[in-house]
């Protein structure tokens, strides 16, 4: 693992002047701290992906299959035929450059191949050469003419360039917001990564969670007994903090609702406190209104790293949600705070693994609200569910228990741009805490900046890349920290909670990271609770210290 430069060093190293040579003549230089490790062959084998082998990105020889060009070319052709969007995105870009400075990786690195237009051009150049009439005609005149139309042949250097830069895109789609043609560069990355997977070129931080997920139902490889063990640990925590014993149920047949959340919430701080928040909310609703929900140790992952591998892998890993809902006989599903999970649910699940005609259209049993937007997927985001409860005055809240927090909100790329969930999380936050400040308008809502580590790039070995990509978001956090004293960055995504914790610690160490339901849990008054002296992190609540200690 390479040493990550210090923040001021990294910042002053950003150089927006492009190299003097043209982009096609500038060979790829795979740098430590930027690339992620190659996929573990055992993980590829586990899910039946081809060409599982040991290889190292910085080696000259990637041990590619002999006919790799043929495989890629055939794969490209198939995808152009299968996905109309890709064909259109390959053809219509006029290279206007509106997207160029919208990418967090370009802003944080200055590397021109991180301009979304140029990242896409890495593939487009090969598309022009192999799949357009102009490319074929001009190519037949002579190799040197290809450049005129921006075409080039696929060779080993080009392949390495694809790999290096396709794993420097978080598929966040901020660039797409600014594209006058609406080209979705994330889809180009998705397609490029699919092609790379045809010849065994995934990264380990994606494929090992994929294999774990296929085996145990979640990315971290948590088995049912361990899942229960962790939740028991949280129950003990809740009892210590509130005096109330919370007993969630697992895999319970006949429950009305199934709850699915990213496994990061069960395993990794600070997501674990968000998990505690869900547990408290469900307990409260059960006590007050007879709310009937079950967790699952099988559908124990909301996230889907298959989405970062191929459409087929996404479908395989997603299938467990409906399968478990059917097995348990629930009416509908609530999903936790996760980012790309919701892009998969919102934009793919219904057609991929649906229709879920065995489920009912979601209606809140407490407020009677019909979630019209979830009519097809039968799956409701917990921020919508909780916002509706608050709107109908169904929660007793003591907002002063969040008074030590000055909060801002990071829109996760996938919940904002991928499903338009903008108001509900803000509504929840503003109703559970008293100090809320927005970051600048061009860094939130549909223009939100990525955490910098999404789409499977949240590894340890590529920390320099992650800090580059995390800079624009952290910069906006720094702004509200300096202007309003913001000390808590909230979000509704497990990758965000892990990624922002690292990037904020690096760029704005005075600020911490939280999920929205952690703050809900802080404020929620559980029936029969004793006086709270700490927040959910067991940190003393200012002004609410134990009377005995005074």
């Amino acid at each position: 693992m390479s040493e990550t430069p210090k923040p001021d060093e990294l910042f002053s190293n950003i150089d927006y002047r492009p190299p003097s040579s043209g982009w096609m003549d500038t060979p790829v230089d795979i740098k430590k701290g930027i690339y992620s490790y190659a996929g573990n062959p055992k993980s590829l084998e586990y899910v039946g992906l081809p060409f599982a082998r040991q290889w190292n990105p910085i080696d000259e020889d990637w041990s590619l299959p002999e006919n790799w060009k043929e495989i890629i070319s055939k794969g490209f052709r198939e995808r152009l035929d299968r996905f109309r969007s890709i064909k259109v995105f390959m053809d219509i870009c006029v290279r206007c450059g509106a997207c160029a400075d919208k990418c967090h990786f370009f802003i944080g690195s200055g590397d021109p191949k991180n301009m979304p237009v140029l990242r896409a051009e890495l593939l487009r150049s090969v598309y022009r050469n192999d799949f357009t009439t102009a490319g074929k005609i001009i190519g037949s005149i002579g190799k040197n003419f290809k450049k005129i139309i921006g075409a080039r042949e696929l060779d080993l250097q080009v392949l390495k360039e694809w790999w290096y830069y396709l794993f420097q895109c978080t598929e966040c789609r901020r660039c797409s917001v600014f594209c006058p043609y609406g080209i979705d560069t994330a889809e180009i990355t998705i397609m490029g990564r699919e092609l790379l997977n045809l010849i065994g070129l995934n990264i380990d931080w994606i494929i090992t969670p994929v294999a774990n997920c296929y085996r145990t139902g979640n990315h971290l490889g948590i088995q049912p007994h361990a899942y229960k063990d962790m939740m028991d640990f949280f129950s003990d925590d809740i009892e210590e903090i509130t005096g109330v014993k919370v007993e969630p149920s697992f895999n319970r047949k006949g429950a009305e609702i199934l709850f699915v959340t990213p496994s990061g919430d069960v395993f990794a701080d600070p997501g674990t406190y968000t998990c505690v928040g869900y547990m408290m909310l469900f307990h409260y609703l059960q006590e007050k209104y007879g709310f009937d929900i079950t967790w699952s140790t099988y559908a124990s992952e909301g996230g889907n790293f298959g989405f970062f591998t191929s459409h087929e892998m996404m479908k395989r890993l997603n299938a467990k949600m409906y399968a478990e809902a059917k097995r348990l006989g629930v009416k509908w599903i609530i999903g936790g705070e996760c980012g790309h999970m919701w892009r998969v649910i919102h934009q793919y699940m219904d057609t991929m693994n649906g229709p879920a005609d065995f489920l009912e259209e979601p209606v809140s049993p407490i407020t009677g609200t019909k979630f019209e937007n979830a009519k097809s997927t039968k799956m409701v985001h917990i921020a919508e569910f909780t916002a509706d409860l608050i709107k109908h005055n169904k929660l007793e809240l003591d907002t002063s228990r969040n008074d030590h927090l000055k909060v801002t909100y990071h829109d996760s790329c996938n919940t904002s741009r991928g499903m338009g969930l903008l108001e509900e999380p803000r509504y929840v936050i503003k109703n559970v805490c008293n100090n809320y400040y927005e970051m600048p308008v061009n860094t939130i809502r549909e223009q939100t900046f990525c955490c910098g580590s999404g789409s499977g790039l949240n590894a340890g070995e590529n920390m320099e890349l992650r800090m580059q990509g995390g800079l624009p978001r952290a910069n906006a956090v720094k702004y509200v920290h300096e202007k309003h004293g913001v000390n808590m960055l909230s979000c509704i995504c497990a990758i965000d909670r892990a990624a922002l914790s690292a990037s904020v610690e690096y760029w704005v160490p005075e600020v911490e990271v939280t999920g929205v339901h952690e703050m809900v849990g802080n404020a929620l008054i559980l029936p029969g609770e004793h006086k709270r002296t700490t927040d959910l992190r067991s940190e003393p609540l200012p002004g609410m210290e134990d009377d005995d200690a005074e």
Binding site: D204, H219, A226, A459, G460
Partner: protein, 105 residues
Amino acid sequence: MATVEYMGKTFTVDEDGFIDTYESYCEEWVQWVKHQEGIEELNDEHKKVITVLQEYYEKNGIAPMVRILSKVTGFKLKHIYELFPSGPGKGACKMAGLPKPTGCV
């Protein structure tokens, strides 16, 4: 994959120096990681962390979350960093022969 030779034993390790399989764990491996981590003397507290990690791993197939490790050992995270300068994952888990944790963590 790279190999490490130490005190007459050969270990296969990944890019970050984690052992390829828990079965290869042995006293020589502990000594190798101790040397790598720059730990002067292994005391009972180090051993307690290693034992807790291994017992949890054998039961659950994964490393425990940091808060469970803290609770069971009774050591605050800060103290675990004092024992293992690279931290609970890259220091303690490595010494215990556990695989590198991967996922949304």
